[in-house]
Amino acid sequence: MTAVHRSVVYDWLRHDKKFPHVWCPGCGLGILLGSLVRSLAQGGYDKNQVVLVSGIGCSGRLPVYVDVGSVHTTHGRALTFATGIKLAKPELKVIVVMGDGDATAIGGNHLIHAARRNLDLTAIIVNNLNYGMTGGQYSPTTPLGAKATTAPYGHSEPSFDISALTVTAGASFVARSTVYHVTQLDQMLGQAIAKKGFGVVEVLSPCHTNYGRQNRLGSQVEMMKGFKKQAVRADRWDKVSPAEREGRFPIGVLADHGRPTFWETYEGAIERAQAIRKEG
């Protein structure tokens, strides 16, 4: 087991990138990084055919550590860059890492359109319930009533359910997990990456230095224990009564269906265009 792990790390992490990483000690992003490289290694992908794209924020710093082509873009726009890469070279595996701010605030429109188009991309959305990098301001996923540096008296807005949003927008695959449920997280990432079409994995991750501290949730360990308590397996979610659902969320696969990807339907347009042009 250790031997396997060491070779995964050796194969998939950048040798010319100096550690330690930029994240706070105990941040969930390190666990996600491990999970991502394990799912890539287990999927048997060719490093030269994988491209990691990210937005801006703590989560945006993740791709730089992975030994693949990596593009750290502008805040909220990772999916747009990824769209261009994927259309330019459809054979590439393009994986996009975004924060909840990236994905649902500044880039919310790109998210729903990427899902609608069913671009063959994998979107990993790191939901830490706030803006980590800029110091714990509220985001569209901050729960009603929670504290944030821009919600000192408790947040006045209800929050987005990222997974539900992307299911509705038409993603081919949607799953949710947390950095506490590492084995499941590996699986969910593996499935999403393997899946043709737009795949989304929402990953709950503790931001103990900002969100946790402001809401007195304790250390990162306490926050992880919180995930354990709050998470319910998706196949058992129906059995949870509405009263008991408060503060809890389903984890696991939430949507999984096949639908033609953008490139597949566009190929039809190419054929029609060429036929019309030949006729003159």
Binding site: R14, D16, K17, K47, N48, Q49, V51, V53, P63, V64, D67, V68, G69, S70, V71, H72, T73, T74, R77, T80, F81, A82, T83, G84, I85, K86, L87, A88, K89, E91, L92, N109, H110, H113, F262, Y266, A269, I270, R272, A273, Q274, I276, R277
Partner: protein, 393 residues
């Protein structure tokens, strides 16, 4: 005039027969120029008066098996172009004022990460939605300084339909050669003008492609440069697994804040353009040699200036014109030469003096520089220009 729409043409356009003369609209000629220069990726969002380019590309890209996508907005459009360019495509997007404003952040990204691409901005009246179907030249300084931070800028500006074709080829070649975004700044009048254009035969066109690494992936240092100051660009997915970021980065592409790396980085970014000023700054002259009064102009306004020169000379006024085809870098040497020994210089433009300010900056006491601004959504006429002569003479 109420609706901000243009009629789409139903049939796919006949592909350009090279080496032949054709009657073309400015936006069509710009599109053809892009295709001739090797453009094989287009992402855009419709806006008047640039929509014909997006429509043209939607017809031509699939015929060639290349991607066309109408994105959800202009931020997404230029983002997709950056991604496509990194994956090896020659990418273009086309927009007008409001969309150009939205693109600025990612334009800065392309600048700092050194990604070749072409952004078309067909100017209309502004700010905001302004005068959607009227001509203006109000985005000249935005094209220079629209994105934040200090950076060089390359901006070409056509005055005729032929120049739309020629400058578009030049825009792509410049983007590829210097690894930089290039702005093609047209105006509504030129974009919608129809003129005869003689398209060059296929072999007569110089098409420049970016320099790709000459070393195997293990040796590639993505931002290390030879004497040219321009790093070689590897296509994503070809075995070169490097990092790209909008942060200031070291030679290996990783973010840095070390003063001894940051300063040289900016110096190189400016240097790679400034050492080629001579190649980049394009101007045309009309009756300039013996002119007593010089007109300095660009875009559709330069057309009125040419007519004014002709009419003026018929009436015994010795007028000459310096037409700017490159707005940025500002063609300083040509402007200085044009100002030297003249009685006066008149700078007519469809804004409150965005280029006349530059002319005054380089004038340095050579002559009297007069601004002629018009902001009513119509062109400056030759008679208006001649009307100002009473003040000058």
């Amino acid at each position: 005039m109420a609706a901000e729409t243009t009629k789409p043409s139903r049939r796919p356009a006949k592909s350009a027969r090279k080496g032949q003369s054709r009657l073309l609209q400015g936006n069509e000629a710009a599109s053809l120029g892009a295709l001739a220069a090797g453009c094989n990726f287009f992402a855009g969002y419709p806006i008047t008066p640039a929509s014909e380019i997006t429509e043209y590309m939607s017809r031509e890209m699939p015929v060639r098996g290349n991607p066309f996508i109408q994105m959800e907005d202009e931020i997404a459009s230029i983002g997709a172009c950056v991604g496509a360019s990194l994956a090896g495509r020659k990418a273009m997007t086309a927009t007008s004022g409001p969309g150009f404003s939205l693109m600025q952040e990612n334009l800065g990204y392309a600048m700092i990460a050194e990604i070749p691409l072409v952004v078309v901005n067909v100017m209309r009246g502004g700010p905001s939605t302004g005068l959607p179907t009227n001509v203006a030249q109000g985005d000249v300084q935005q094209a220079r300084w629209g994105t934040h931070g200090d950076h060089p800028a390359v901006v070409f500006c056509p005055s005729s339909v032929s120049e739309c074709f020629e400058l578009m080829v030049m825009a792509f070649n410049t983007a590829e050669r210097f690894r930089t975004p290039v702005i093609f700044l047209a105006d509504e009048t030129v974009a919608h003008l129809r003129e005869k254009v003689v398209l060059p035969a296929e072999g007569d066109l110089e098409v420049i492609d970016r320099r790709r690494p000459a070393v195997p992936p293990d040796w590639y240092v993505p931002y290390k440069t030879d004497g040219s100051l321009i790093p070689r660009l590897a296509d994503l997915g070809e075995g070169y697994r490097y990092h790209v970021t909008g942060l200031v980065h070291d030679e290996r592409g990783f973010p840095t804040r070390r003063a001894d790396e940051v300063e040289p980085f900016y110096a190189r970014l400016f240097g790679k353009i400034s050492r080629h000023f001579d190649d980049l700054m394009l101007t045309k002259q009309y009756s300039l040699d013996d002119a007593e009064i010089v007109l300095i102009s660009y875009g559709c306004t330069a057309r009125s200036c040419r007519a004014a020169v002709r009419l003026g000379r018929e009436r015994g006024i010795k007028l000459g014109l310096l037409q700017l085809l490159t707005l940025w870098p500002f063609p300083r040497q040509a402007v200085e030469a044009a100002l030297t020994g003249r009685k006066a210089a008149l700078v007519p433009e469809l804004n409150m003096g965005q280029i006349s300010r530059e002319v005054k900056r380089v004038n340095d006491g050579r002559t009297q520089v007069i601004r002629h601004s018009k902001m009513d959504g119509t062109m400056i006429t030759p008679e208006e220009i001649l009307g100002r002569m009473r003040e000058v003479a």
